[in-house]
Symmetry: C2
Subunit: 478 residues, 2 copies
Amino acid sequence: MIKTDSLNKNLLDAEYAVRGPIVIRAQRLEEQGKKIIYCNIGNPQALKQKPLTYIRQMLCLLEYPELMNRPDTLKLFPKDIVDQAKTFMQRNPSGTGAYTQSAGIPFVRQAVADFINKRDGIPANRDSIILTDGASKGVQSAILALLKGPDDGYMIPIPQYPLYSATIKLYGGKQIGYYIDETGRWQLNESILVKSISQARSDGVRPVAIAVINPGNPTGAVLSYDNIRMIIEFAGKNGLSIFADEVYQENVYDPGVKFYSFAKVMDDMKETAVPLFSFHSVSKGFLGECGHRGGYTELRNMPQDVMAQLIKLQSISLCANVAGQVTTYLMVSPPQPGDESYELYRRERDGILGELKDKAAILGSEINKIPGMYLENPQGAMYAFVRFELPDDPGKDADKMSAEERMRYEAERDSAYCMSLLEETGICVVPGSGFGQLPGTLHFRTTFLPPKDEMEDFVLKLREFHTGYTAKLKDSYR
Amino acid sequence: MIKTDSLNKNLLDAEYAVRGPIVIRAQRLEEQGKKIIYCNIGNPQALKQKPLTYIRQMLCLLEYPELMNRPDTLKLFPKDIVDQAKTFMQRNPSGTGAYTQSAGIPFVRQAVADFINKRDGIPANRDSIILTDGASKGVQSAILALLKGPDDGYMIPIPQYPLYSATIKLYGGKQIGYYIDETGRWQLNESILVKSISQARSDGVRPVAIAVINPGNPTGAVLSYDNIRMIIEFAGKNGLSIFADEVYQENVYDPGVKFYSFAKVMDDMKETAVPLFSFHSVSKGFLGECGHRGGYTELRNMPQDVMAQLIKLQSISLCANVAGQVTTYLMVSPPQPGDESYELYRRERDGILGELKDKAAILGSEINKIPGMYLENPQGAMYAFVRFELPDDPGKDADKMSAEERMRYEAERDSAYCMSLLEETGICVVPGSGFGQLPGTLHFRTTFLPPKDEMEDFVLKLREFHTGYTAKLKDSYR
């Protein structure tokens, strides 16, 4: 009989907290009839966000092209959508049913290149784009492609989205964490980057890439132009590739900040040596089409023979799912003013983004009113990384623990807190230790995706829970 | 600047012939206006096979659920489909737009379990099923999960589907090839298995699993009950997991043979120790829904804690695409006699399978009429692995070459042959060396998916090409 010790040790060691034990417990409670508010994962449509109509109308027609030729169809669909669906089928006659080229349908890749060109005013090339099953698969491929040996290291932010730590572990590379600065709006700090990479090198690790998530997950922060410039220079000096995780590029709420892509800043800098992998997805933004697993990787400063190897890697799983490729196409080429479907599109888009903005503001203001809780106002993405304080246990002196002991101790504390929150209130969030956090701090990550009234309820419940939990803990230490 | 030698060496070394240089050349020729007959890959809908109507009607409604409530919809869709779509949305309210549980939607997994139960008359459990983005992703996960170190070996048939060789190489394991017997209808031969595993062990390789493709790819062969029994016993004696690649289970054309699943034979044998990973897909059978990347892995003899690790692996890429999960659901729960949509379903299914059967027969009889070409009549799947002879080069004595030199020499010969076939006729097939072949033999793999009239044309062109090519080669040796 097979046992866990017959399995890949890297798999056993990999951790993926956003779907970890707390979430599994939440599913059990839900099966038993408890109402759960899933704030553990950026999954908008599971929390009642409606899909955009134009996307679903197009997918509907492309899944069943016969419909396009029925006279009744024009009663049900706007004409521009039917026309676009017809054009799609003419250009890709096998529709959603056939494998495409490994990198994806050529004219969809062209549409992505046009989107980048329009967004950033820079040249973009269809042959440098690979369509993927969501951004996760793109990130995993990039990590695997650059891994030459077990001492190769990937710099990742702490806190980070655990896709990075889990994948690096799974493929047998080394993680080089760099702290981002909670008191400095979660920007990257050059001296911390330098310290981290030097430490890694002296530990025998060979750094190959730096991953940056902008807007941030779990932090909700948006990086400034200058910060991005600094990161590109740092990567150049250190011979690193950049993984720019830009899946939240449409999710910017703070009018004082702006999203800049790494591609744009690199182009401004005329940087032609630093390899860039940038990732985008249909799962976030205002689409929230997580279930369709669509996305793309754009490569820059990548010679053709390297590109050919990346496409070969993609070819081993054939190609990204085609409905996901279609969704990516629709994301990058939405209805335009004057199209019949434009008004509804605009209304739906603005409605979703407006509501996200409101909910980010509710969290930002209300959480800071809870004694012992702190939150940088989320500027973007779908998350708040909430810092909270617990009374000190007089029986433990964290300062005297080894770094590893301390990490374990603090992980126990934030996990117990989040598990209790779940059991008492049905709110499912993810402990900060699942993303990493500065020693001496405790956090949890929550999305701000539930409907507005539930968000208000969420804050009330959280306040009540936190007050009760800390009081009980204090009592237990007497 | 990044160079190929900055990349993972395993990636550089991995080869995936079904999307290799000949296919890339074919795409170029097509862009230049040449008509290409793509027989390189089992991609039915790219070769004009129509999707099943009930599948596309359901996907259409699920992508745009608003349609279900419009009065005109019942003019366009049969009632049982609309009802089933409504039920689906009730049971899974976020439809195709949200991430599901990592292993997939629970009631879809239950439907898969019911399908296995009905197919084989054996118990099956929803919690032992993981929905995947096509079978390829399932196979890749299984290989990665069992890989404890670089000396771990996977037994794979020669010839094999290069997903196996490429993935083993990519993740850094060892391939243990075992020849299957062309003169014995491509069954597995116990003494060859024993010889291969002993050789591997004496080379310091630790065998962990055996992969079996039934019905066969590239061979089109169907394994007998006794052959499967022998393989299970062999795995048991040697402590191996079994990877049963059963994606062609519906593609059996020879009335003298029958598909038996490994699960069924294991159950008959009351075998409870050998771990089984069996893979199925929506891409093959009579659905041919390659673009939807749907499929599942069923696990047997797998303790819960091992199962939990496999689900964690799946969770790192979140979940399989939901339209693919829906397609898998529809594959395992088709319309039933009495349903309004049944008659059309039956007609479409039987039409597709009947035509595949006819085309397999055309290839089987016509190819054997070409002097210097031989083919075991394909009993199943979508492929024929055609053996062909070329005149000996008097300047080369293959028998005096090392095994590796000979493999390279023969790979050059079959690749040059297939490239010439492409350039002269537009027919795109894959050289036998891409799958592996017995030294001293040359093959190519072709699908029999093009429409019947094209298949007839294919055979005529092939005959003419082969005669000309061998004559030219003979001349060049003078």
